[in-house]
Amino acid sequence: MIELENLGKTFGETRALIGVSLTMSEGSFTSLLGPSGCGKSTTLRLIAGLDQPTTGTVRINGRDVSGLSAAERNIAMVFQSYALYPHMTVRQNITLPLSMRTMTQLERTPFISRLLPSARAKMAENDKKARDTADMLEISDLLERKPSTLSGGQMQRVAVGRALVRDPVAFLLDEPLSNLDAKLRTQMRSEIVDLHKRTGRTFIYVTHDQAEAMSMSDRIAVFMAGRILQVATPRELFERPETREVAGFIGDRPINLIELASDNGELPAPFEKFAIGGKDIPARIVLGIRPETTTIDPRGALSGNVERLEYLGSEAIVTFRLSDKHVLRAALDASQRLPAEGERVGLRINLDAVHLFDAETGKRLRATLESRESASGNLESKVEA
């Protein structure tokens, strides 16, 4: 188990990390997700022991590891750039972490190592482990090659092999797939998930790609501007984002965030057919409507002109202009008839899936979006947002 307690990190004037607390249970797969510069990589470096926090503590299995070096924490890390040693063969790259641990300075000295029986025995043992690891990752035929002769995917595997070979407490992966092409990335994604299942170790995965985080992890910590905004399972994160930023970051297709004035729950046009149910409704609110929760319905409470239509095969992303100020993007099933550009159509939104946020603080509201015409029975059902 890895616990972060109130971690803070300051570089000169810049506060890279502010009060980050997070618990990662044994054997879990946690993603640290956020845009670049949000502090996720800094957090990873603090866990690894490559940097020391300005405030707060890191505990591994209940033990405060402040002041322990990266190696003493027995944590393995895969770097975005792979960080393979260019002068060593794949075999040497994989055995290095073993020889650094099991062999003394003298035993590691070139030439002398060949003379000492103890060094020879250890080298043989390390070599066997390296070969087993290479077999597992299907890179046995690359063992004598230098990194510069490998492809990106192969280097990635070697980097994983180097992390895997010594049975670490946890694996830290820093954007390991971002240098690969799209196809290979999807393949490596499932390989990493497999690896997690097989090893049963704690995985901490840093990424800026929400799809990667959603598809791989048990839990996701969303970072923004040095703080954790929300820690939740991928499903919770999608269904109940705690802030407007999280809602904006999660989801394959960007969510519609529509800011409106609200007068005691009454909404202005074009949302005049809706009202907000709940107490203490702020003066300005934000509606979060996912593109895939909107459908075309002639009897819908909204209507809009088709401004742009992007046909993607299985679906089409349609931008509707609701009024001068507001547009709504919807992902429509492309097997149905699609509206033509300029056409005016009725729209129905799934009230279950609408998120409400305070426009000022960005926090999720304990309130619901209701249809004022639901009594007439022609529109949306009312469900707690």
Partner: protein, 300 residues
């Protein structure tokens, strides 16, 4: 326009770009080298209207004659002292300045400038400073030694010491340049390799040096090796200003002998032979270094 026409035009551009420099190199370097090579087999004197072919007599004289052999051996000793000392020292200094730079850019810049000073300063002027420092009675070096009870030495007039005194000045002169080269090499080492080494268990600076720094400096070290070798083979200014090759040819070196024979005694033939030997040494050393190290420093 036809393909051939375009090729000719492109060829013309190539000639315009590379032509002048190539021409200058042929006229100013290759041609003189050939002429000097030819002269080295003659007894030509500057200004003389004729010469005789003497075969390899000049070379026999250089290697057979005590004075000639002295210059060759002295040069080799000088290179053997300056080259490794300068490289090891500058590597240590560069690593030091580089790590100072991690916490204070100002201090690192100051140190870098201080070490680079000898490179930009006129060596002839600096030699005068060294002459003062090494002066047997007034010099700072002997005074400092005396204050700790060590007897002073005649640094520049003792036959056994003079070459090593000059070598020390040579090291001082080349270290600054090499430090700058090594610093550039150090700055180019990706930071994540050190991170990886740390994660892999290289906790100490020493381990990190052997796992990351030294191998990653390979190409830089090769370059520094070649530059330092040629620079120390060319030692001339300090000899000319401080010792004139003396006392008793104890600090005579190839380039100084070349200058003396050619420009003082006008023996163009003999001077040419020295030049060819010098040329051969530098070329061989450079080739050997490239042959041995090139494959080892570029990790392919």
């Amino acid at each position: 326009m036809t393909i051939i026409g375009r090729k000719i035009r492109e060829g013309m551009t190539d000639v315009q770009l590379a032509g002048p420099a190539t021409l200058a190199m042929l006229v100013l370097i290759f041609l003189p080298t050939v002429i000097v090579g030819v002269l080295s087999f003659t007894d030509y004197l500057f200004g003389a209207s004729s010469f005789n072919w003497v075969g390899i007599d000049n070379y026999i004289k250089l290697f057979g004659d005590e004075t000639g052999r002295r210059a060759v051996v002295n040069t080799l000793i000088y290179v053997a002292v300056v080259m490794p000392s300068s490289i090891i020292l500058s590597l240590i200094v560069a690593v030091g300045i580089h790590s100072v730079g991690q916490w204070s850019t100002g201090a690192a810049n100051f140190l870098r400038t201080a070490y680079f000073m000898p490179v930009v300063a006129t060596l002839v002027a600096m030699a005068t400073v060294w002459q003062m420092l090494l002066h047997p009675s007034l010099g700072l070096v002997n005074q400092v030694l005396a204050s700790v009870g060590i007897p002073g030495q005649e640094w520049l007039s003792d036959q056994g010491l003079v070459l090593y005194s000059l070598a020390v000045i040579g090291i001082w002169e080349t270290v600054g340049y090499n430090v700058v080269l090594f610093l550039a090499g150090l700055a180019a080492i990706p930071r994540h390799l050190y991170d990886a080494a740390q994660v892999d268990g290289a906790n100490h600076g020493w381990d990190q040096f052997w796992i990351v720094t030294w191998p990653m400096l390979g190409p830089t070290t090769l370059f520094v090796l070649v530059i330092t070798a040629t620079r120390s083979f060319r030692v001339f200014e300090t000899v000319a200003t401080l010792t004139n090759g003396g006392p008793g040819f104890a600090s005579d070196v190839l380039v100084f002998a070349m200058y003396r024979e050619g420009f003082v005694y006008f023996k163009a033939g003999y001077s040419g032979a020295i030049t060819m030997v010098f040329f051969f040494f530098v070329l061989t050393l450079t080739l050997v270094q490239f042959r041995i190290f090139e494959k080892r420093v570029h990790y392919r």
